[in-house]
Symmetry: C2
Subunit: 135 residues, 2 copies
């Protein structure tokens, strides 16, 4: 359809996302790349992340902290947001595909995406909270 061209910017943005196990926001990726590529603009980061998402190369995560996170791993899996430190991490759940299928079966519309998100306190932050109380 649209004849897609190569672009250096798209390559480095894709690469930046691939090299991360956390789930950075557009702003985070921009901040990481900016020192090495001073001409890079935030708009370009947003545009390319959106493009990669539409191509199905990456997925976006809206988990309720007001910013969109991105994930290079498009295999179905869940995410966890720590409401204390703000980190987003992967959750291995093998049920997701089954959840999606069991719902799709009865649904007269079309399902394209199934997101499973957990919110809570991560183990590290929970430890710190307990330590705080003991003081």
């Amino acid at each position: 359809m649209t004849p897609l061209r190569n672009s250096k910017q798209r390559d480095i943005i894709r690469q930046a996302l691939m090299n991360r196990t956390d789930h950075p926001t557009a702003e985070t990726i921009y901040a990481e790349l900016k020192p090495q590529y001073p001409r890079l603009s935030l708009g370009t980061v947003y545009r390319n992340l959106m493009l990669l998402k539409n191509l199905g190369e990456i997925q976006s995560i809206d988990i309720g902290d007001g910013v969109t996170h991105f994930d290079y791993d498009i295999f179905p899996h869940a995410h966890f947001l720590c409401s204390r430190c703000g980190r987003v991490s992967d959750i291995k759940i093998r049920d997701i595909e089954r959840i999606k299928n069991s719902f799709s079966r009865d649904f007269k519309g079309r399902i394209t995406t199934c997101n499973v998100n957990f919110i809570g306190i991560c183990p590290e932050c929970l430890n710190e909270e307990n330590n705080d109380k003991e003081q």
Copy 2:
């Protein structure tokens, strides 16, 4: 803790949310109430929705359309976003509690919320799309 007071505004906002089966945004609730309560301000709607959420009376839904939806029903259930018409609707899934529990069992942190969101095309919009093609 905080000595909560009664407020007419909070009452009508809560009531507005109770009376809806869809999942309005702050802006939607504001628009609905404004004609009858011309002095109501959007900031008050946001403040009270946040308050009610923190009290556990309502839940918020961030499903990826860039706005926060609100739901008076706090019983665990899933949501569906139609990416064509933008409507958010309830999905009855009895698995959610089980998903949450099965994950909580092995997790060393604390889980407060489990959100399951589907995105796709609703039956109505799918029909329209098919009709469009036939033209």
